[in-house]
Every structure is written in C-alpha cells, then in structure tokens.
C-alpha cells in the first residue's frame, strides 16, 4: 500500500460530476475591485488590474500580493468596479478630430518625468550648481552667493534670456 499523503492536492480533490454543478446567484459572489498602484511616492497611481474581495480591507490585502510583489510599490488604491463610470465604445468617434489638431495633444507631459530626471542627472554630471531667480531680479548676486557657499572659486553664470514671466533657472559653473 502506498504511504498516505497528507497533501490536499493528492487526497482531497473531490470534484462533483458535471451534472451536479452548483449554481451561484449574483449576490453570492464577491465584488470586483479595480487596483491602482503607485510606484514611487509623489507619482501618479496607475491602473494595474482587478481583484475579487468581499470588502475594501480584503481587496487591499489581495492587491498587495497580486500587484505589489513583483515590482516596486509605494502605495495601492482599490475602487469598487461598480463605482467606475465609462463612456460607450459606440461613441468613440467623438474622440476623433475633424481637422488636424495635433498641436493640442499633451504628448510632452507623458515624458516630463523622464526629461526632468535627465536634466537633474546632467547638471550633476557636468558639475553645475543650479539656482532659481525670482522674476525681475538679476542673476548675478544669487549666482555669487551660490558660488561662495559651494566654494566654487572663479565662476561664471549661464542663464537663458529672461522672458519676464515667473521664476527662471540659472546654472553656476566653475571656470
């Protein structure tokens, strides 16, 4: 006689015959929750999938293991799928423009994070100090105080033309 297995996969599988399948009513089922994941604090939450759960607490519990396990995660949201309102696919033509209006499209925003992080990285690699000058002020005095506090020695300032609106960024560079 083979040894008795205590593994439920081996000795507890008792599936009913196809004829006696049990029918569940809609309200017997748990609810669907949509899961939104934030990779880093301060970033946007992105939709990553859905879990089934009887309440929000358990939805978060499941979401952590389904979605927070394989990649970096700072925060999770769950929202009842029933609370999500959507447009009809039949109306999708309303998103089409009759004329070329590509100038309106916000493509720049999609890569903004990448661009900003590239700029910071580049400044650091070039050994540039940066500072922000308030509108209407001259760049030189601020650049001098930055150079002094960093003990830059002989320095020069790089600035873009002042277009007169809002604060502007300057770079202070050792000569």
């Amino acid at each position: 006689m083979p040894p008795i297995s205590y593994d439920p996969r081996v000795n507890r599988v008792e599936l009913p015959d196809a004829g006696q399948l049990h029918q569940e009513n809609a309200l017997d089922q748990w609810q669907n929750y949509e899961v939104f994941q934030q990779m880093k604090r301060g970033e946007q939450h992105h939709h990553v999938g859905a879990v089934h759960a009887p309440n929000p607490e358990m939805a978060l519990l499941f979401a952590k293991e389904q979605f927070g396990r394989r990649e970096q995660c700072a925060n999770l949201w769950v929202v009842k799928s029933a609370e999500v309102y959507a447009t009809e696919y039949d109306d999708a033509d309303m998103f089409q423009h009759a004329f070329d209006k590509s100038y309106r499209e916000g493509d720049g925003y999609k890569v903004r994070d990448t661009i900003e992080s590239f700029k910071r990285d580049l400044d650091a690699r070039l050994g540039l100090e940066t500072a922000v000058v308030q509108p209407g002020k001259a760049a030189e005095p601020l650049a001098e105080s930055v150079a002094q506090s960093r003990k830059t020695g002989d320095w020069e300032v790089i600035e873009l033309p002042d277009i007169g609106k809002g604060p502007r960024k300057i770079w202070v560079k050792a000569r």
């Binding site: 205590y6 507890r12 748990w30 759960a53 499941f62 293991e65």
Partner: protein, 251 residues
C-alpha cells in the same frame, strides 16, 4: 556566548519555518479563490526562505549546507513544534495556525532584533518586514471569517480548539533556554509565551471566538527534543522525495 545554545535556538527557528512553509505550500492550486491562493503560496515561500536564512547562520557556525540539513536529516533530528507538523486539514485550521504561529513569530522577532548575537539581530530586523504582511493577512482573515456566518464561525472555533493548546508547544523550553536568556540572546520561552498570550487572546475574543481550555498543553511538548507527531515522517518523506533521487545533483 555559547555556540551550542545558539545552534539549539537556530534549529528550532529554522525547522518550524521549513515545516510550516511546506504545510502552507500544500494549498498551492487548491486555495479558496485565486487571489488567496497566490497570497497564501507567497507566504509559504516566505517561510521557506526564512528557514533557509536560519540554516545559513547554522552553516556559518559549522553545521552542514542548508540543502543538506533541510533534506537529509532523520525525523528525530528535527526540532520543530507539533503545531507546524499537523496536516493542513481544512482552510480554517491552516488560517488559525498561521495566525497563532505568526503572532508568536512577531513577539519573538521583536526581541531577537535586540539580541546580543549580532547575526541574529540583523536577520530578525530583515525578516520582520515580510512578517508584517503575514500579520495583516492573519488578523484580517480571523476577523472576517469569525464574524461571517455561523458555518464560518464554527469552523474557526473548531480549528482554534485544536490549535490553541498545541501552539503552546512553540514555547517549549529546552536545556539551553536559561543560557540563551542569561547571555541576552533571547528572553525565556515562558516570558515570550506570556507576551504572546496578551497579544492573541484579546484579538480572538474580539473576533467573537471562545478561548479553549489549555489544560492539556504539556501533551504537545516534545518537538524541541525530537519527539514528534506521526504526521512529521510522511511530510519529510514527501518533501525530500526529489532531493533524495540524486543528493549530489547541482541545481
């Protein structure tokens, strides 16, 4: 510091985790719903991973390679407690066992983080991060099922009646218990047990369960000295089946 006492402690910690991890893993593909199947399997994997870390510390103290220690010992050489050996039975039992064991783990790790044995203190700090989810999972399911309906509550109560006195075996003292405490490696088992009770008992009562009698808890001692339930041997046979085909194989 006494290396013998440290080894005694590490074997207990490692074997509990390995055997419990194996029991948890038996639910893979059989969990009540997909999401919970994944969550429980993930915790099983954590437990086996923790066991490996403890076996690694033992290896650094001159014991065998972790794989060899985990997969080639005789049943009597294991130092796990009876609670982790029991078959997974129904899901309520697995959940209640997971709750009782992981809360005990939480108490122990909170002390091991300040252990005078620095390798153990460092490891305990790391492991506590994964245990945070285990605690959250255990508490949520305990509350949820104990208050769901009469069928669920009755299953949870039956599981508690069986598992609770047995869980005292986690804190079975050994001949090194006092040495470990005197040398600041970890507190007395009795002190850990009292702290664990003050933690789990209010949670069980709050969940609406009745605390079972623990008068017979001494019946479940023995695991720490190699006296096990009849359930351990078949488990070890199954767990080591593949390794035993070719112990020298490179993985």
């Amino acid at each position: 510091m006494s290396p013998e006492a440290i080894k005694d402690l590490l074997y207990r910690l490692a074997d509990d985790k390995l055997i419990l991890g194996h029991r948890h893993s038996e639910w893979i593909g059989m969990g009540p719903i997909l999401e919970e199947d994944i969550a429980f399997a993930s915790m099983a994997q954590d437990e086996v991973g923790h066991a490996q870390c403890y076996y690694q510390l033992l290896h650094e103290l001159g014991e065998g390679h972790p794989d060899e220690v985990a997969f080639t010992r005789q049943t009597e050489a294991f130092r796990c407690c009876h609670l982790v050996e029991l078959p997974s039975q129904d899901y309520a039992f697995s959940l209640v066992r997971h709750f009782l064991f992981d809360m005990a783990d939480k108490v122990r790790l909170s002390h091991l983080r300040r252990s005078k044995y620095p390798h153990l203190a460092e490891l305990a700090t790391k492991l506590a991060r994964e245990e945070k989810y285990h605690e959250m999972h255990a508490k949520t399911f305990l509350r949820q099922l104990s208050q769901a309906n009469e069928d669920a509550r009755a299953r949870m109560q039956a599981a508690l009646d069986e598992a609770y006195p047995m869980a005292f075996g986690i804190f079975e003292p050994t001949i090194f218990t006092e040495t470990l405490s005197n040398q600041g490696i970890q507190p007395l088992e009795d002190a850990l047990m009292k702290e664990w009770r003050t933690l789990v008992e209010p949670l069980l009562i709050e969940a609406g369960l009745t605390l079972p009698s623990t008068a017979d808890f001494l019946d479940y001692f023995g695991g720490r000295s190699g006296r096990h339930t009849p359930h351990l041997a078949p488990l070890v046979a199954e767990m080591t089946e593949v390794f035993a085909i070719d112990p020298a194989a490179k993985w």
